[in-house]
């Protein structure tokens, strides 16, 4: 009986989806190798390989259990997530003025990355349990609290880039849950109040980053410098790119954070228009698979989770690539699966594991 179920599950594993993810990781590894040089055990490349291995193990483990295990236990998991975020505030380690790292036995982890997934499941379950066609106001408010309490904790860590990613998760799930016109109006008014308040909370460097998107050439040596260098990197890649380790912008250090936040620019410089479109194409495949998973999920919960993950991925992609292409302000948001960094990679694969889980169990009762 057990074997049978497993074989049925295995048959519904989506290889296109999976290989799209592997393709993204491969592109990321190649670019990390190119821009940071070494391939040794302790190089960025070597560590990224290790993270990928861990991420794949996490991915496979998450496929094994029925996804309802996560939603059934979400109160406990959510509480643990809040606890971890609070712990970070007390004993966390500061990296680049962001107090978002927790040291566990010599390994630094960013709990905020994993909490995002817990928030998706928590909000999805809460909204999925509403049996009506539209969400009630009180449901919207409680859903907002579920999403924005951890977000507030992340804001206190000083990591605004990560904090802002909680917003699209909530908005997407609320839209999917069904909004009445008057609630949309409430949303817009709340947003109109929150926006200036949020602007006041920003640090000066963050404000100037946003201002320079509007007019990047005003101050080439300072805040707009990164945007200009990134555009030069992307543009100078032309159609086929400069080739492996040939991108002068990335190799000579003109491009900032070339293996992490600006990895797309480095890729576009060395792989050109063709490579950039291919990379975006892989992301498009993943996004469409998530939508397919949402459509065919066997229950509201599955649909909600897939859309929550889609919102998160879409937001990261839009901000990160938008930043590389000079369309968005510079923000410390990694490109999922591609940027160097363990927490992001592992949490991205964890999210994909849950969605694939939903996909594979679409017929199973």
């Amino acid at each position: 009986m057990m074997m049978k179920v497993n074989q049925r599950l295995l048959a519904s594993f989506d290889w296109v989806w999976f290989f799209a993810l592997i393709g993204l990781c491969a592109a990321g590894l190649m670019e990390i190798w190119s821009t940071t040089g070494g391939t040794g055990l302790n190089s960025y490349f070597g560590r990224q390989m290790l993270y990928l291995g861990i991420a794949l193990v996490v991915f496979l483990i998450l496929l094994y259990f029925d996804y309802h295990i996560f939603s059934d236990n979400i109160p406990l998991l959510y509480a643990a997530g809040i606890l971890a975020l609070t712990l970070v505030l007390i004993v966390g380690r500061t990296v680049h003025s962001n107090r978002s790292w927790l040291c566990v036995g010599g390994i630094a982890v960013q709990p905020s990355e994993l909490v995002k997934i817990l928030v998706i499941i928590a909000v999805a379950r809460y909204f999925a349990e509403s049996e009506r066609d539209h969400l009630q106001l009180n449901e919207l408010i409680i859903g907002a609290l579920i999403a924005f309490v951890p977000m507030a904790l992340v804001v206190f860590q000083g990591d605004l880039g990560t904090a802002i990613t909680f917003v699209p998760i909530y908005v997407a799930l609320a839209v999917l849950g069904g909004l009445r016109r008057r609630h949309i109006l409430v949303f817009l008014i709340a947003g109109a109040i929150a926006l200036p308040a949020g602007w006041m909370m920003l640090k000066d460097y963050q404000k100037s980053r946003i201002q320079t998107v509007l007019n990047p050439s005003t101050d080439p040596q300072k805040v707009g410098y990164q945007t200009i260098q990134s555009k030069i990197a992307v543009g100078s890649g032309r159609f086929l790119g400069k080739g492996f380790r040939q991108g002068s912008q990335g190799q000579l250090g003109f491009l900032p954070a070339r293996h992490t936040d600006f990895v797309f620019s480095a890729w576009a410089e060395e792989r050109g228009f063709a490579g950039s479109i291919a990379l975006l194409g892989l992301f498009l495949v993943v996004c469409l698979r998530l939508l397919k998973g949402a459509r065919e999920a066997k229950d509201r919960l599955g649909t909600m989770i897939c859309v929550g993950v889609l919102a998160l991925l879409w937001f990261h992609l839009t901000i990160n690539v938008g930043m590389a292409l000079g369309l968005m302000p510079v923000a410390g948001i990694p490109l999922p699966f591609v940027s160097a960094g363990g927490s992001s990679l592992i949490s991205s694969f964890a999210a994909m594991g849950i969605c694939m889980n939903i996909w594979m169990r679409r017929y199973v009762n």
Partner: protein, 616 residues
């Protein structure tokens, strides 16, 4: 699990369709933007990437000059060229390696090591691969500019110690900041690659001596040629330092120690200004003040004669008979010695069942205090020490600065040891023996002193009870006036005691005492010799090795003139033999030079007069 009704499922599916729009939209926008940047703007951006190489060239600021008290330059700067490597411009590392080996004599292993070591620093930061190059190397780099754009000449002001080894231990030297100094933030604000003071006043006054580096932002093309200047900030030279040293006196002091191991300090006893400080063997700071070549430095460190050590402050030896001056002060002020005190010296005395000998075998006969100082009678001071006891001796010696650092503005000073029963219990864990008091009474045994400590204590006896802080800084351009206030400590000494000690010291030099070799006709020099036994006389006879290493250490400490002390001198010669034979004549030359310059107005420049006035 909530089973969905058909209606709610339908609604959900309808709303789900909404999500295709933003997904597809963002991909369309990004594809369009990529087309705009890479296809339409591609050639334009490619050109910008080529031109987009901004070099940030550091213009190293010269350090401040250092002069003697009259304004004679001791340390200046001279222009020099380094060969710099811009790693970002390397086209083929093997070609560069081969070129460096063939034309600039840089060993491939050294080069590979430098590249490896500098991995962590930004690629845009040039590496100094050869420093202070001559005209040959300069022309090699200039001629091959096109093939090797990664090699550039970088001007850098270099420290010039005008008089080579002169006063090298006071002046010190500079060097590239070490990883250790960086991580401990010993020089706040200094960055990797900066030159900082490593020793001497270069180190103590590193901050006021350090200038402000300038910068040049230049555009370089893809082969590393400058194609435009974006911005330039001129370097600012560091502040001037005027030392208390007197070049002439310092020169004599250094010459006197030329072939010896030892130290000389000449100090103004009234205010602690160091007029000369020599330590031998010395080193040439010019050869040490480099970034790369550590060979000279390693040789210095390995040299058993320890030329890098400032023996005036970093070497503590038993003070020998010069310590009798401190004994005399203690004895007089504690009432153990007065006008009527007499001791009969027969050449040997028995204490604690052990014979203690006088330097003069046949004995000095009956001596009073002045006599005992002048002729350096041990028996007198053995007896005084026995009566006073170690605690009183230690108390007076400590009041005169023994066992503590003088606080001179030079790095690495040692404190010496003034032993006491408590000290022995703490350090060695054993009881004090009475016989040790007897040894300490003539400056042997556990008591040790740096030459500077000794001259400081004697200055206090000479001038009337003010223990000054010795210092070598007269004025620093970039330090506030308050920093030139050096603390003093009042030591309670009776006027009568000082007069008797001075009388004894005067007789030592001028009335055929042990210090007569220091005498200069017409000058009232007061002094005291010291001879430190390295090995007992009996054992010495049997010693078969190199005789020079068992030879006695030679001390002389004194001041002049007797009634108006303005210079105090200490001379210490390691294994120099008797104090009266080796150290005293050296001190004589220092005194002679000082007073010759004082008496001949032509030698005293206007600058000297103002310097002296300002120093008081």
């Amino acid at each position: 699990m909530n089973l969905q009704t058909d209606s709610s499922r339908q609604h959900l599916q309808q709303r789900l369709a909404l999500f295709y729009l933003p997904v597809v939209a963002v991909f369309v926008i990004f594809a369009a933007r990529l087309w705009q940047l890479q296809i339409i703007g591609g050639s334009d951006y490619a050109l910008q990437a080529e031109r987009n190489r901004i070099r940030n060239i550091q213009l190293v600021a010269p350090r401040g000059t250092i002069t003697d008290r009259d304004g004679n330059p001791l340390v200046e700067n001279r222009p020099s060229f380094n060969i710099l490597l811009y790693r970002e411009s390397i086209k083929d590392i093997n070609a560069t390696t081969a070129f460096l080996a063939a034309r600039l004599k840089i060993h491939p292993d050294d080069f590979a090591e430098l590249i490896q070591r500098s991995k962590g620093t930004g690629l845009y930061r040039p590496l100094v691969i050869k420093e202070d190059v001559g005209i040959d190397d300069i022309s090699v780099v200039e001629v091959h500019k096109r093939e090797h754009p990664e090699l550039q000449l970088g001007p850098e002001p270099r420290r010039l110690y005008r008089h080579g080894t002169l006063a090298s231990h006071v002046l010190g030297y500079v060097g590239e900041i070490s990883d250790d100094e960086l991580s401990k933030e010993i020089f706040p604000g200094a960055r990797i690659g900066d030159l900082v003071g490593k020793f001497g006043v270069e180190r103590t006054y590193n901050k006021p001596l350090t200038g402000r580096d300038g910068r040049r932002f230049v555009l370089v093309d893809s082969v590393g040629r400058e194609v435009g200047l974006l911005d330039e900030v001129d370097p600012v030279i560091g502040g001037e330092l005027r030392l208390t040293l007197d070049l002439e006196l310092q020169t004599v002091a250094d010459e006197m120690l030329a072939d010896k191991i030892g130290a000389i300090v000449a100090m103004d006893p009234r205010n602690g200004e160091i007029l000369a400080m020599a330590s031998a063997p010395s080193f040439d700071p010019n050869s040490l003040s480099t970034r790369i070549s550590l060979r000279d430095w390693q040789r210095m460190v390995d040299d058993p004669r320890k030329p890098l050590q400032n023996r005036a402050i970093q070497n503590a030896f038993p003070p020998g008979s010069t310590f009798k001056l401190i004994m005399a002060e203690a004895g007089l002020d504690e009432g153990f010695v007065d006008d009527l005190t007499r001791v009969t010296c027969t050449g040997v005395a028995l204490y604690y069942n052990r014979p203690f000998r006088c330097a003069l075998r046949q004995g000095h006969g009956t001596v009073d205090l002045e006599n005992a100082i002048a002729r350096s009678c041990n028996i007198f001071f053995y007896e005084l020490g026995r009566r006073m006891g170690i605690s009183l001796i230690a108390q007076h010696a400590q009041a005169l600065g023994f066992g503590e650092r003088s606080g001179i503005d030079l790095p690495g000073e040692r404190s010496g040891i003034m032993p006491s029963p408590e000290w022995k219990q703490r350090v060695r864990g054993t009881k004090w023996f009475g016989g040790e008091t007897i040894s300490v009474s003539i400056g042997q045994g556990a008591v040790t002193s740096t030459p500077l400590q000794l001259v400081r204590a004697v200055s206090c006896l000479a001038t009337g009870g003010e223990l000054v802080t010795p210092h070598v800084l007269l004025r620093a351009e970039q330090l506030p006036e308050e920093s030139a206030l050096w603390p003093r400590r009042r030591v309670p000494i009776e006027e009568m005691s000082m007069r008797k000690i001075r009388e004894g010291m005067w007789q030592s030099v001028n009335a055929w005492g042990t210090g007569h070799a220091a005498a200069v006709p017409g000058l009232d020099i007061c002094g005291k010799t010291g001879t430190v036994q390295v090995i007992g006389a009996e054992r010495r006879k049997d010693f078969s090795g190199d005789a020079s290493i068992v030879e006695d250490h030679s001390w002389f400490v004194g001041f002049a003139s007797k009634d108006d002390p303005e210079i105090a001198v200490v001379v210490f010669v390691e294994h120099g033999g008797k104090g009266g034979v080796t150290a005293a004549p050296i001190a004589r030359e220092v005194f002679r030079t000082y007073f010759a310059k004082r008496k001949s107005p032509t030698l005293i420049t206007e600058a000297a007069r103002t310097a002296r006035a300002g120093g008081q």
